[in-house]
């Protein structure tokens, strides 16, 4: 079973960067529904978009967090960048960021190409790297930001880049994970062209009508919305229950359930299936849309910053989506640093 436990590690802080520009969902390009239907179903009233790459937003968030934490850059031994919107096809964006942030050349740096499940997966990778005598401080950068098309036909997605600071801390309760993968759904969310399998040709830019009635081309992200929806509402309650059962944790003892912000209809179904009270399940999708691997830390930074700064809390976070891939984690925070939202 895909359970993983790491002790003696803790989250030291969170920060998030978003573009200043607010895109309001006043219209949608679908023949199937209007903007009011779209907002009622997805919960996405507005989101942030701009001409920044994910690494630009992560960079700004990281500078702020390191300053708020008063961490010495020389102490940072690892940088993991989780994104499906890398700066280049190669090199890895983590290498670009090591230099841009002025981190030590004695730095472990790699990219992880995951989306909605990526923050939780990235946390498991970083947790596995930390030890008392080796790497003691690490940065997990996660997010997605890319102009997907001139006409902006994806009113669901917003841009954000986040950073989570993680450190070795003897005696800390650590992180407990349950993870899973179902690659039979690899094409449920896919950018089909531009990689090695389907190299870019002029046909890559031909518009085709998608399931939701919106026209898109093959360099954009195409989604089988119905498959993704059925996947989310069935797999998320199961992974959450498995993890809680494995560790004999009472669901009522969790202070916050931090779910990937997919869309309101899916997240509300998940919340109701798990019988969770609204106040324990914060959402940021109404203001920022679906922000892929940024959504969990962005929810902390924008929805519950004061209480996370001031209290000791038990959290359960679950990311799920493109892959198909999902990961759930139990972790505590004890008065950690939460930087104010960085608007770039």
């Amino acid at each position: 079973m895909a359970f993983l436990d790491f002790n003696n590690v803790r989250i030291a802080g969170f920060a998030a960067g978003v573009p200043k520009y607010v895109a309001v969902n006043e219209s949608v390009a679908s023949k199937d529904y209007d903007a009011a239907d779209f907002i009622a179903t997805t919960g996405v009233r507005e989101r942030r978009i701009g001409n920044f790459t994910t690494s630009d937003l992560c960079f700004e968030a990281t500078e702020r967090l390191l300053s708020d934490l008063q961490w010495d850059k020389a102490e940072i031994g690892a940088l993991v960048f989780v994104s499906q919107t890398a700066d280049y096809i190669l090199p890895a964006t983590a290498c670009v960021l090591q230099n841009r942030l002025g981190l030590s050349k004695e730095c472990y740096a790699l990219d992880i190409a995951l989306g909605c499940s990526g923050w939780v997966y990235g946390l498991s990778v970083v947790a596995g790297l930390l030890s008392e005598t080796g790497i003691t401080k690490a940065l997990l950068l996660a997010g997605d930001a890319k102009k997907r098309a001139k006409s902006d036909p994806d009113p669901l997605f917003g841009h954000a880049g986040t950073v989570t600071a993680i450190e070795y801390n003897k005696g800390a309760s650590g992180f407990k994970f349950h993870v899973g993968t179902d690659g039979s759904g690899y094409d449920a969310i896919i950018t089909p062209d531009g990689g090695s399998r389907n190299q870019f040709t002029e046909d890559s830019l031909k518009l085709v009508q998608c399931e939701d009635g919106i026209m898109r081309h093959r360099l954009q992200t195409l989604m089988k919305g119905m498959d993704v929806f059925a996947f989310g509402i069935s797999v998320v309650p199961k992974t959450v229950k498995k993890l809680l059962e494995k560790h004999q944790v009472d669901i009522n003892s969790i202070d916050y359930f931090l779910f990937h912000q997919a869309n309101k209809m899916m997240n509300e179904k998940i919340r109701k299936k798990l019988k969770l009270p609204e106040e324990k399940v914060p959402y940021c999708m109404q203001s920022f849309g679906n922000t892929s691997s940024a959504s969990i830390p962005l929810t902390v930074v924008t929805q519950i910053p004061e209480i996370v700064r001031a209290s000791s809390l038990h959290h359960l976070a679950c990311g799920f989506g493109v892959g198909l891939s999902w990961a759930t984690v139990l972790f505590d925070t004890d008065k950690v640093v939460v930087s104010d939202l960085v608007e770039v």
């Binding site: 529904y33 239907d37 399931e211 919305g225 498959d227 929806f229 059925a230 069935s234 209809m265 179904k269």
Partner: protein, 76 residues
């Protein structure tokens, strides 16, 4: 599970369409109110009531409500 019950639950996903218009042999995609959003409601209903995860193709390949009922029954 039985067909009549399924048809009734299917009909509950519509706001404007009269329930009498929705029968086992109704070609549901021809209903004016049918949309990708109602399809999601149907998937959620099937997940909740029958613990079956429908695929988009299950909905696309079904013509009548009875067709979809048979898919759910086979996976149930």
């Amino acid at each position: 599970m039985n067909l009549q019950d399924f048809v009734e639950k299917f009909a509950e996903q519509f706001d404007e369409t009269d329930a009498n218009e929705i029968q086992a042999n109704t070609v549901f995609k021809d209903l004016d109110e049918w949309s990708s959003l109602i399809a999601l409601s149907v998937i959620a209903m099937v997940d909740e009531e029958y613990e079956v995860a429908l695929k988009g193709d299950d909905i696309r390949n079904a013509s009548t409500i009875e067709d979809l009922y048979n898919v759910v029954k086979a996976k149930h």
